[in-house]
Symmetry: C2
Subunit: 310 residues, 2 copies
């Protein structure tokens, strides 16, 4: 199975299209078999969120080139925007999609961190699953004080970078690199306007209050529909699958005499989450993915693209 | 959504690898955006089954080149093999996989038929969904008498070809072109050794005896496992979906006090069949396919490949 990893660099430029173009092109030229899946720039935030897909080595090459180009073209001393940021390349998470483990993504984050620190004399912090201390796990914590407060923050030995020099890059600040799981936003709608029932069911399934380890949930009123919703963040759909959470919500709703009227996935979802549901309910004796025609075609296309660039 | 059509030409050469290579290469060179998904040659049958994927125009170009090359390189007067055959290119079915209708595939079969008849002075018969008379719908019927009996068969006005000359091509015979639905082979295993129960359930779901329109089924003993199986051919998984047939088998098995212990898909399956099951059981408010990350990547890859060849 071809490896598929997602990498979503956030760069501190959302206005000058030609700068974002140059940054994207640097990544695509350097990263063998890397595809740009989505690109979204926000003028108010003065920030662009770029979604790349590829395998590990391709993505590390692409991101090293991207960080280099962003460091060259973005000067945070001139940068204004509503979104908090620490660097020209602000944050680079690696996300396993298929055929890759979290451990591999942590190793990619470390490799990229080492490379961009050396090539650009840039301090690098590792966050989330790649964090080397608990207080660096949370991105907001690492970013606190922003670019403007970074020199002062780095004076404290507890904020020595994981790679690179012990003071900010003059114009590019620092970069935060890490690994995290794919998030699936999944909502289940109930045939009642009683928000207390959605709240109780949310409590039943979420990790915080005794539920599934990789589920966060809360009740939400859908006023226009006269319904309520159990709004769920699935933080690891492989270990806590959608269909299991759905069945628990169904069971809890039934206990309250309430119908489950529908569910919705918000944003992108890896096919594995849906195939797992089909496998469960059809009682398939083996995971169906290797037999899926489009997957076979995608595998050929991914490996073919790699071969062409060699 | 990028169109995806499967085309599975069967050519009458299963021994000389270099001939099959030349035929495959002719197709791939001529067909923009066409991929060879699978290739399987059988020496005893002296026949190769080639599975191509692409969009309509790409596949017609590829198949026109393939028929031309097979006509040039294969002489049926010298051909021996166990499998019945009428021509150098024996049969070419177009199969809609996604984003294409049966009607469009029938039109492709007609377009290809016209082209190869003119380019190669080759008689062409249209079969299955592309057949213009009931007696040509069944491939075995069209192929009866094989290459050796073709000249005699064509003397009858009822076997005038749909395109091309009224007598066989001297060395390449005739070609049978058509359109048919994707077949999904789907088996459901029961926790009993009683074959009569599998037979009764097969009768309940199959079209022939009052069941689903696009299901064929029979009971099979799985002697090694001490179980029986409802063995199903799903002839149109979009109109008669797997999950609906599964639920009916479950209901009928329950009525007999028998458990459904598992199910299996044999061979390839389009992802739509599995996404439909996930959509049904998770009560999704919209078909999930447009949100699937790998599908988005495949769409980009398919359209990207087309763009590169322009």
């Amino acid at each position: 199975m071809a490896t598929l990893i997602e990498c979503i660099p956030n760069v501190s430029e959302g206005v000058r299209t030609e700068v974002v173009d140059a940054i994207v092109n640097a990544a695509l030229s350097a990263g063998r078999g890397v595809t740009l899946l989505d690109r979204s720039s926000d003028k108010d935030h003065n920030r662009s969120v770029l979604t790349f897909l590829g395998d590990g080595p391709g993505l590390v090459d692409a991101m090293a080139a991207l960080v280099g180009k962003a460091t060259e073209l973005i000067d945070l001393r001139q940068h204004k925007g509503e979104h908090p940021r620490l660097g020209a390349t602000d944050v680079v998470p690696f996300v396993p999609v298929r055929g890759a483990t979290m451990k591999e993504c942590v190793a990619l984050a470390e490799e990229l961190g080492k490379r961009v620190a050396e090539a650009n004399a840039l301090p690098v912090y590792l966050y989330e699953e790649a964090a080397r201390s608990e207080e660096r796990r949370n991105l907001a914590n690492v970013r606190k004080g922003e670019f403007e407060g970074l020199a002062k923050k780095m004076e404290s030995p507890s904020w020595a970078p994981d790679f690179g020099p012990a003071r900010p890059h003059e114009s590019a600040g620092a970069v935060v690199i890490g690994a995290r799981a794919f998030l699936v936003a999944y909502n289940i709608n109930l045939g009642t306007a009683n928000l207390a029932i959605a709240d109780r069911i949310a409590k039943a399934i979420r990790h915080l209050s005794g539920g599934y380890r990789y589920a966060k949930a809360m009740g939400v009123a859908l006023t226009d529909r006269g319904q309520v919703q159990v709004s769920i963040n699935m933080t690891n759909f492989e270990k806590t699958p959608l269909h299991r959470v759905f069945e628990t919500v169904l069971s809890e709703a039934t206990r309250h005499g309430v119908a489950v009227v529908g569910s919705e996935i918000v944003g992108l979802v890896p096919q594995g989450a849906l195939f797992a549901a089909a496998e469960h309910y059809l009682r398939l004796e083996a995971p169906p993915e290797p037999q899926v025609l489009e997957t076979k075609l995608l595998e050929m296309s991914l490996s073919g693209r790699l071969a062409r660039s060699e």
